[in-house]
Amino acid sequence: MARVVVDVMLKPEILDPQGRAVQGALGRLGLSGVKDVRQGKQFVIELEGDLEGDRAALMEQLAGELLSNPVIEDFRMTVEQ
């Protein structure tokens, strides 16, 4: 059994209106010194069997093409077997 976590974030140069709204709210609620907030997505994928070989390559590819939009997002994938 493998557990794959894919974190997807807007590229740093892309505007993140959600993150900005959260930053504003945190400040209004009294949290001081908030320099930046970015909001991303997290996918937790449970797989049968270990993730290796072709399947691992496909998973990586889909993380970059399906789970994230390469035009505006970066992703990071971690696997626990």
Partner: protein, 224 residues
């Protein structure tokens, strides 16, 4: 009667809610999110829209607005409050109503003329309807799927607190076809579809929505 209509940054249906209040025969009073003054209104409508862009979660940021602090106290004291769409989401986020509204199961925003059955006519906002009456009013949301745990759902059903249910089509995957609920006391109501867009034959699919606004006026009259 004076009914307050709250404007948050990103509220969109405030003008419509005010119009509905006037069509029903009351005075609409503008309330601003940044003031904690309810201007001694007799009831409050939290209108639809995308307050704070619906960023983070719908209603999550508005919940902390100064006006909400005053409103939560007043609602707990019996002030009639109707939350429509985004207003319903804010009421849930504020824990004035149980459950939460999540992404539509279709994953699309949906705008349609929706048939509803009025299930409870004891609330301050539904007393002018007949029990079981079917109405058609606009529905428009991206996150209108009502969810709560089974215990809460059973409680809502058992206490007759589901005020309206979707008929024909469940447009967003709401548990048990729930379109609207009320609190135990019956003064706070949350509704996903939009009665304020169905008060004039010219611009709505019907005038079926007017009953929500006349209901609260009649409730207030009979209470005083």
């Amino acid at each position: 009667m004076r009914i307050g209509v709250v404007t948050f940054p990103g509220t969109l249906d405030d003008q419509d809610a005010s119009r509905a209040v006037r069509v029903a025969g009351a005075e609409a009073v503008t309330l601003w999110h940044g003031d904690d003054d309810l201007k001694s209104v007799d009831a409050v409508v939290l209108p639809g829209g995308f307050s704070y862009g619906d960023y983070l979660r719908c209603g999550a940021i508005s919940r902390f607005a100064p006006v909400m602090r005053a409103l939560v106290d007043a609602a707990n004291g019996g002030l009639p409050v109707l939350g429509i769409c985004n207003g319903f989401q804010i009421l849930c986020e504020s824990h004035l109503l149980p459950g939460a509204l999540t992404r539509n199961d279709s994953l699309h925003f949906v705008c349609r003329d929706q048939r509803l059955r009025i299930e409870d006519t004891t609330s301050m906002w539904t007393r002018d309807y007949a029990p079981g009456q079917e109405i058609v009013i606009p529905l428009k949301n991206g996150e209108g799927c009502f969810v709560a745990n089974e215990t809460t759902l059973d409680e809502l059903e058992g206490e007759g607190r589901v005020i309206a249910r979707y008929v024909d089509v469940n447009p967003n995957g709401s548990r048990r076809d729930i379109a609207g609920i009320r609190n135990a006391r019956g003064n706070v109501v949350g509704l996903m579809p939009h009665p304020e867009h169905a008060v004039e034959p010219l611009t709505g699919p019907s005038t079926d929505g007017l009953g929500f606004f006349t209901s609260v006026l009649n409730s207030l009259v009979s209470a005083s």
